[in-house]
């Protein structure tokens, strides 16, 4: 079974699906859903089939479009190359697409023009899958462009609300500025090396960094920074996540910013191999730390659920960038693992937000409350998501954050540079603030008292809950079984990122890497002797049983556990204690929590309000200024 | 914070100032107004304490006995405000608020202090020895029920037997000791002159102390049998019968 065709088929399949939906889908719902489901499932099947050969056997698939083999060492055609790193991201992409498609069948049923929606959706997924699989820089750029278009169109999908259009416009402008930088970078690379194939580029560029290539690196660094929404470019992202329909914002936070991160890794690790230079590592870690901190503090001050989740996505991407910036084996593994976990729990949280929007009609934290009794299953899913994002032990956030702390502090200790210790401290504090903002959301949305107009909200239909349960299960599973997750998926991916010879040899025939003088770095095996949670969970279970036995055993001797099922005698024994008053509706909403914290940081928050001014020009100015800073930085450092 | 730390540490090593109450009996201060003690014998049932008790914690239950009344005074501590007014206004000193503060009860009954004041109705009525009396009107003011009227100008002293509760307040206040309980002369029924000898009084008298002979128009009275029930006086259509002092 010659599986080297599979990536190309998967990508083209998705694009084909997009056009078919446009043609046949606009009339009947069933046809449309079937087409979407079939194409997403077969793309998923194709890519998952590849997991075994690529990940386990360590084989790197290379596929030349139109069979244009490289002629005596020079790559001419567009090459598709799937190594472990792109396979890792491909799994992420495929998983998110499938779940979002299943979720959107019922979630989007109230909107019109669903034909267009699914076209754009399939275009987006095809583009990101193409982006992940391609081995050619310009193809990477084109896929990024298609992704940005589809994303902008989807953000503006519900164009009744003016704010959606505004968000789409800002995203388009800043996105295009970023893409412009990337394209300039690529042309400069081509000017220097007369090739567009990444493997060849990396073999030619290793070592001899001329001013042109340094400028190209800086520009492409900005371009991919824009795409992965790190700090200077994160403002339009927050608007875009908020205004897109939730099944799309889940795809955004699960896939689109991961595509930016993938581009960043490819650029810095593979093409330019610039990561060995200390300054670039510090730059990346600094960007990551700032993104983390700004993302979380802004999230704490939000009044809208989806905007809060958007800022959290930005802050979690900060974690991933910090981890990747460390350039140590544990660092990259931690970063990739956190990217996977982020897709899972952030997807889950967005789906729950969508469920709340679907059932209660609004995501404004001040007008929601007490939904846990009306929507118990969504509440449980949300709690799992919230606990895993804030890194509580049995869930997956804990495992990846733990790796990141250990990696950053190990880096600090080995290099003796106090900056990385500062990064660890910020990471821990940001994780606590994430927990704080999710406590705020759970209190504002699920617990507390239910306002009058939300009394008859009902649970969301099953087809929306199914992806939620799948994601929740994956969250817990990857949290507990991360030992073998590391062995099968993470280790190969981080090895592929760190040493490049395999990548180059696969594309241009063996031996080219050796000739170009790139030695194969022996990646240190990650010391995994720390506590694996499965044993820890057994302890948790034993004590849990013991305590429950004591509580249950005491049942006879204790007073009965009473809760009035009937709702009419609410005002008696079971009413909330209002110091004697009749228990009226007084819900502690999201906005009046953490008063102490906000008062101390009021100066900081005023500055933040200034930065997120909502004006397109400011965002574009920030992007260009950041580009200028990066260019100057790269020149100073690398030459 | 430092000074408080110093105080805290010095306290740690010094003896606690707690009075171990249940094990060490604690006496209230001498003038503490605690549980009410009522001495039935001293009480003359003048009713001043009831009148002066603001929360109305004192009430009286009358029970007639053969020679007077048994009045049980109930001091309800659950509604008493322990102001001590009753103690001040009780001239007899029958009510004293002791220093017993252990007024804790599960059922309200044992928070009520009861005392019985046996009030023997004095045989006679109040009367005044006019030669001692200087008509200072003190007794009139003192009388709780206002039974005595004294006219200083006309130097007259009269008592309204109906209102008098025989409390003896006037006797006590009279500076000259002019007021006294007149010795009750055995009451004798006297028949007036417009008697028509209808023998009604004879029939009414439970003790047959009166014998009437219509024919001989004679009316006779036997003092030894008479119990001064007053039925004959009430029954006489002509209202000629009345009590009078015997010898």
């Amino acid at each position: 079974m010659n599986y080297s065709h599979f990536p190309a088929i998967a990508v083209m399949g998705l694009f084909l699906g997009a056009f078919l939906v446009e043609i046949f889908g606009s009339k009947s719902k069933i046809v449309r859903n079937i087409i979407v489901f079939v194409f997403t499932t077969c793309a998923a099947a194709l890519m998952l089939y590849l997991v075994k050969p690529v990940m386990l056997d360590g084989e790197i698939i290379s596929y030349w479009m139109g069979n244009w083999e490289p002629v005596d060492g020079y790559a001419i055609g567009i090459g598709y190359e799937i190594d472990q790193l792109s396979m890792f991201f491909a799994i992420l992409v495929v998983l998110t697409i499938w779940l979002s498609a299943v979720y959107s069948f019922r979630y989007m049923e109230r909107d019109r023009h669903l034909g267009h929606y699914y076209t754009l959706f399939l275009m987006l997924s095809g583009a990101v899958l193409g982006l992940v699989c391609t081995g050619d820089v310009f193809n990477l750029f084109v896929m990024v462009e298609i992704m940005t278009f589809a994303a902008v169109a989807l953000t503006a999908f519900r164009n009744k609300k003016g704010s959606n259009l505004e968000a789409a416009f800002k995203y388009l402008i800043v996105g295009s500025v970023g893409s412009g930088f990337t394209l300039t970078g690529i042309t400069l690379l081509y000017m220097q090396c007369h090739t567009l194939n990444m493997a060849q580029l990396s073999s030619m560029l290793s070592g001899n960094l001329t001013p042109v290539t340094v400028l190209a690196l800086a520009l492409m660094f900005t371009g991919f920074g824009v795409k992965s929404f790190i700090v200077p470019f994160h403002a339009p992202a927050a608007d875009a996540y908020m205004s897109a329909p939730t099944s799309v914002s889940m795809v955004f936070s699960g896939m689109v910013n991961k595509a930016g991160v993938y581009g960043m890794i490819r650029l810095v690790y593979i093409i330019f191999r610039a990561m060995d230079i200390e300054a670039i590592q510090i730059l990346l870690v600094l960007l990551g730390v700032i993104t983390m901190f700004i993302g979380v503090t802004m999230a704490l001050a939000q009044h809208d659920l989806k905007r809060l989740l958007a800022f959290h996505s930005i802050s979690q991407i900060g974690y991933v960038i910090t981890a990747i910036g460390l350039c140590t084996a544990l660092g990259v593994t931690g970063g990739l693992f956190h990217a996977l976990n982020h897709t899972l729990f952030k997807g889950l949280l967005f789906l729950c937000a969508g469920a709340v929007l679907y059932a209660a009609g609004t995501t404004d934290l001040d007008r929601l409350g007490g939904l846990s009794k009306k929507m118990p299953k969504t509440c449980i899913c949300f709690l799992i998501g919230a606990f895993s994002i804030s890194g509580l032990p049995p869930f997956n956030g804990f495992a990846s954050k733990w790796m990141i702390y250990q990696a950053t502090y190990e880096k600090a200790v080995t290099t003796g540079n106090l900056f990385y210790a500062f990064a660890t401290v910020t990471a821990v504090v940001v994780s606590v603030m994430t927990l704080a903002s999710f406590i705020k959301v759970t209190q504002a949305v699920f617990f507390g008292q239910c306002p009058a107009q939300l009394q008859q909200t009902r649970e969301v239909p099953f087809s929306m809950r199914l992806p939620m349960w799948i994601m929740a299960l994956l969250c817990v599973a990857s949290g507990v079984l991360y030992g073998d997750l590391y062995r099968f998926i993470l280790a190969p991916a981080s090895n592929a990122a760190l040493n490049v010879t395999g990548y180059i040899d696969a594309m241009l025939g063996s031996g080219t890497a050796a000739s170009a003088g790139i030695a194969d770095i022996e990646v240190a095996k990650v010391s995994f002797s720390y506590w694996n949670p499965t044993a820890w969970l057994i302890l948790f279970a034993i004590i849990l049983i013991a305590v429950c036995w004591v509580v249950v055993f005491g049942e006879k001797t204790r007073g009965a556990v009473l809760q009035s099922e009937s709702s009419q005698d609410v005002d008696g024994k079971y009413a909330t204690f209002f110091s004697g008053e009749k228990s009226m509706h007084s819900h502690v909403g999201g906005s009046d929590l953490f008063w102490g914290f906000k008062k101390n940081f009021s100066g900081y928050f005023r500055v933040m309000q200034g930065i997120h001014s909502g004006n397109v020009n400011d965002y574009a100015l920030m992007a260009v200024a950041a580009a200028a800073i990066f260019i100057v930085f790269m020149f100073v450092v690398l030459l | 914070m430092i000074p408080f730390l110093k105080v805290a540490l010095t306290n740690l090593f010094s003896k606690p100032s707690t009075v171990k109450y249940p094990y060490v009996p604690v006496e209230a201060k001498p003038r503490y107004r605690g549980r009410i003690a009522y001495d039935g014998d001293k009480c003359v049932n003048c009713g001043m304490c009831v009148k002066v008790c603001s929360p109305g914690a004192i009430n009286r239950i009358y029970k007639d006995t053969e020679d007077g009344q048994d009045i049980t005074y109930e001091f309800d501590h659950t509604s008493c405000t322990f102001c001590g007014m009753c103690q001040d206004f009780c001239d007899e000193g029958a009510i004293t608020l002791t220093t017993d503060y252990h007024m804790v009860a599960t059922d309200p009954e044992d928070l009520i202090v009861r005392g019985v004041c046996h009030k023997v109705n004095p045989k006679g009525n109040i009367s005044c020895n006019t030669d001692l009396c200087v008509y200072c009107t003190l007794c009139a003011k003192k009388c709780p029920s206002g039974a005595i009227t004294v006219d200083r100008a006309a130097k007259t002293w009269t008592v309204n037997i109906g209102k008098c509760t025989k409390c003896g307040a006037c006797i006590k206040t009279c500076p000259k000791k002019a007021v006294y309980f007149a010795e009750p002369k055995p009451q004798v029924v006297v028949c007036g002159d417009d008697c028509v000898y209808c023998t009604l009084c004879a029939k009414k008298c439970p003790e047959e102390a009166i014998t009437v002979d219509r024919a001989a128009k004679t009316w006779s009275f036997d003092a030894s049998k008479c119990v001064q029930c007053g039925k004959c006086v009430a029954a006489c259509p002509k209202k000629t019968l009345s009590f009078a002092d015997g010898e």
Partner: protein, 333 residues
């Protein structure tokens, strides 16, 4: 065939010795000592040392009212999860140099296990649906945010001090290091860190000056307002066990080598029972001393702080102390 003795040992370790039972008993004892010494500092006799135990059993006997607005499952599950994580934490912390389960990076596990009881209290409070609880959990969260920063800096300082140029987060390494060159507190560089840790303990446990989250006067017991009966008993037990955990964490980090020197050599079924008992007793005694020093004296001497003063105090004063020791260690003291 699973080694039967090993599983029994695990079950005994989990449930009896350093696990649930020991934690409960020692925790309640510490809470009793804390209340007694506090009373004595206020020149009054104070409750018997067994008072928290009586409170706990009385609460187990009370009727549990689940309010109408509460989410029943989360409401009942929160205290149990809190207690379970505290008991598990006790397994990691070395008692007298010996810890039941140890891995390489225990400090980070402890850091995260410390958040679970606080989160359990918060989620429990918010599940009870009362507005007072809403305010209570926001204060509890801000308290948690305030003491988390100095805590991680203290841990990093200790790890750097022990590790030198490698990285040792595990307690075995820390204890061995302390046995080798004296308790950590004796090191000059680590004294500010020890002081910072002493200040963190009352905030983590939530005693007087830092108990604004459960202020009886303002927001009637904060998150615990709607709890009654067994769940409330478990929450009070959680606070008591938290005292034990934090103080034994302090002994493990800063007074490591002291208790591990005791060897009586009397073994029973291959386990040096007598050693363990002796070490456990001394460990609890030291914990009691630290409780008195860190929690009771401050409780007796200060009044309750407002929430933003608490936050500012922790993020400036205590973090400064911790940073001093981190930098000193970094320079190589």
């Amino acid at each position: 065939m699973i080694n039967v003795l090993a599983t029994i040992k695990i079950i005994v370790k989990t449930l009896i010795f350093p696990g649930a039972f020991f934690a409960m008993a020692a925790g309640l004892l510490l809470a009793g000592i804390d209340r007694k010494v506090l009373a004595r500092m206020q020149k009054r006799i104070g409750p018997p040392v067994m008072q928290p135990t009586y409170d706990f059993f009385k609460l187990m006997g009370k009727e549990t009212i689940v309010p109408h607005a509460a989410n029943r499952r989360v409401y009942m599950a929160a205290p149990v999860v809190g207690f379970v994580s505290l008991a598990v934490m006790m397994l990691f912390i070395p008692i007298g140099g010996w810890c039941a389960f140890t891995g390489d990076a225990d400090l980070i596990v402890i850091l995260y296990l410390l958040t679970i009881p606080a989160v359990a209290l918060i989620v429990g409070g918010s599940a009870s649906g009362s507005p007072f609880a809403g305010i209570g959990i926001s204060r509890e969260m801000v308290t948690m945010m305030s003491y988390e920063l100095p805590l991680i800096i203290v841990f990093l300082a200790v790890a750097k001090k022990v590790g030198g140029d490698q990285l040792f987060f595990g307690f075995r390494a820390i204890t061995n290091w302390q046995i080798a060159n004296g308790p950590m507190i004796a090191q000059l560089a680590m004294i500010p860190a020890a002081l910072a840790m002493l200040l963190i303990i009352p905030a983590e446990v939530g005693t007087q000056p830092f108990d604004v989250a459960e202020a009886e006067t303002e927001i009637c017991e904060g998150p615990l307002i709607e709890y009654s009966g067994a769940p409330l008993g478990l929450f009070k037990l959680n606070t008591a066990v938290k005292m034990l955990v934090m103080t034994s964490l302090f002994t493990a980090l800063f007074l490591g080598g002291i208790t591990s020197g005791i060897h009586t050599g009397i073994t029973l079924w291959g386990i040096a029972i007598v050693d363990h008992i002796l070490r456990a007793l001394i460990h609890v005694a030291i914990s009691a001393v630290i409780t008195v020093v860190s929690m009771t004296t401050i409780h007796a001497a200060t009044a309750r702080l407002k929430i933003e003063h608490l936050f500012k105090f922790y993020w400036t004063a205590v973090t400064g102390l911790a940073l001093i020791s981190l930098i000193l260690v970094w320079i190589g003291f």
